[in-house]
Assembly symmetry: C2
Homo-oligomer: 316 residues x 2
């Protein structure tokens, strides 16, 4: 095992990712237990390095606006709307991405499940990772104001020192102001990156996540995996699956980020996707949005529910 | 007035169309009453000739499939689905067009107002007049079967000769079979023809209408006018308005065809369009679809309701 060079481990990455986890038999058979952990760590390290290194020269990680070739200025109008929208809003959840995000807002499930969570939707049809990067770097995060929560402090004794009770109150006297940034960002983009490889797309998504973490340091991030597309098996499905595999391993290394693969149920046993789920074999129908929204909504509720430790930490 | 050459009348057409009707003061002041009618007829004739002539060498009237540059075969999958879909269906109403048609089916208003009318939806996002022409010429009208209605005949005397009663019945004995083609086609396409002029787009739409009339000779056609687009006034709005003007005059010459302009209420007094109506300043929100669907639904009900004369004619 010790003879395995870094290059070999690097090549192992691809194999390992094909098994959808690092519990691959390949590693288990190559080395004894104490070494397995090191190999796995190295594999993850190599993968992250590869994606991060490529991000520096990655066309999918270069911020770029959409050029208004059609002449109606719609893309910039949408961007400007988002920049303005969060001036008055105090979002707890921010959805960012392409048409998969944008269309979600048009269905009843958005009003039912996500609007009550104080969610904003920054989805633009056709966007790539480059376009989302540009939007986030050019104003869509600038106006996101701290959310102001009014809470009473009871600092009577040591035993009550760390206890706070949230009270809906219009009075200012005796109230502590707690500043909380948007708590969760849901990111769903990448299926429109037709000119980029799976590595590049994953690198582009990582670049967006890194930007979000640097601009919103207290937020948690959910990345939705790219969906399969097309009625029958095709190269784009394989590419999107490869992007998800790369993200599954690399995202947790960045911080409080997790990937949800919501596309598992859409491919039937014969390899087809039904128009009942994707009306154009890409975009979801209302019922399919409801299907994927259940698990997403549960996770959001879970993440939005602060633990007592987190409350104390945010009050310090 | 008599000195007005055909060329002058031809040029007049553009001016007249800018007034949204042929009741232009220009004509009224140019000539006395008897001549006005002739001038108007000539203007209409010239317009129709111009659009039809250009249709022969009109790039917007050339049937063309969408090239699958992305590699997931979605466009052809949708086309094939439509070809299959009408094999088992007996549509009374057929919607054909681009994403404006396609997205309508995703909203509740479709299930509420149009599904009960036995409507099929052949909308494909991004389609131009060329793509719709290709689809209709390559199978989407081939499998549209005659709708079989079972009706009892009472041919007892002359007074009852033309009276028929529709009866829901599973027995064949004593029942006359009435073959009725899809009664109404709703066409909505043209806003994606970015490479074509207003004249060419109108010519492309006319070509589709002519194809529909030749393939479904008993059907009536509703053409929905192109909507304004973009948050602010822009050249594409002007072009779409010009297409509507051209269609308003030329469509009625083709037969039982009428234009409905459903976009009148979306442009506010300051020239802007709200994202509450068009979420991306092009595609309609659920509430906007409901707004435009009311008048369309009423017209469809009106057209689908056969007059006694039409019933008799179809029974002969």
């Amino acid at each position: 095992m010790c003879a395995l060079s870094m290059n070999s481990i690097f090549l192992l990455t691809v194999e390992l990712l094909n098994f959808h986890s690092l519990q691959s038999d390949l590693v288990n058979h190559c080395c004894s237990f104490p070494l397995r952990q090191h190999v796995r760590s190295l594999v993850v390290l190599c993968l992250c390095c590869r994606l991060r290194m490529s991000a520096e020269e990655n066309p999918a990680a270069e911020p770029a606006p959409v050029i208004d070739v059609q002449g109606d200025g719609r893309w910039m109008s949408q961007h400007n709307r988002f920049v303005q929208e969060c001036k008055d809003a105090e979002p707890d959840v921010l959805f960012v991405g392409d048409s998969m995000v944008q269309l979600m807002q048009q269905y009843e499930v958005w009003r039912e499940l996500f609007s009550p969570l104080h969610a904003l939707n920054f989805g633009v049809g056709g966007d790539t990772t480059c376009n989302v990067l540009w939007r986030l770097q050019n104003g869509e995060l600038d106006n996101i104001r701290p959310r102001v929560r009014k809470r009473f402090f009871f600092i009577c004794s040591n035993s009550f020192n760390s206890i706070c009770y949230e009270v809906k109150c219009v009075f200012n006297a005796g109230i502590a102001f707690l500043f909380v940034f948007p708590q969760v960002v849901v990111l769903w983009v990448g299926t429109n990156n037709h000119e980029h490889t799976a590595d590049q797309v994953a690198g582009g998504i990582l670049a967006i996540v890194q930007l979000l973490l640097s601009r919103l340091p207290k937020c948690k991030i959910i990345v939705l995996g790219l969906l399969p597309r097309g009625e029958f098996p095709n190269p784009l499905r394989e590419k999107n699956a490869a992007v998800n595999n790369l993200l599954r391993t690399s995202l947790p290394q960045l911080g409080p980020v997790q990937l949800i693969d919501v596309g598992g149920g859409f491919v039937h046993s014969d390899g087809t996707i039904s128009s009942r789920d994707m009306f154009d074999f890409l975009h979801l129908t209302a019922s399919a949005y409801r299907t994927i929204s259940t698990s997403l909504h549960e996770l959001l509720l879970q993440l939005l529910e602060e633990t007592p430790q987190e409350r104390r930490a945010s009050l310090v």
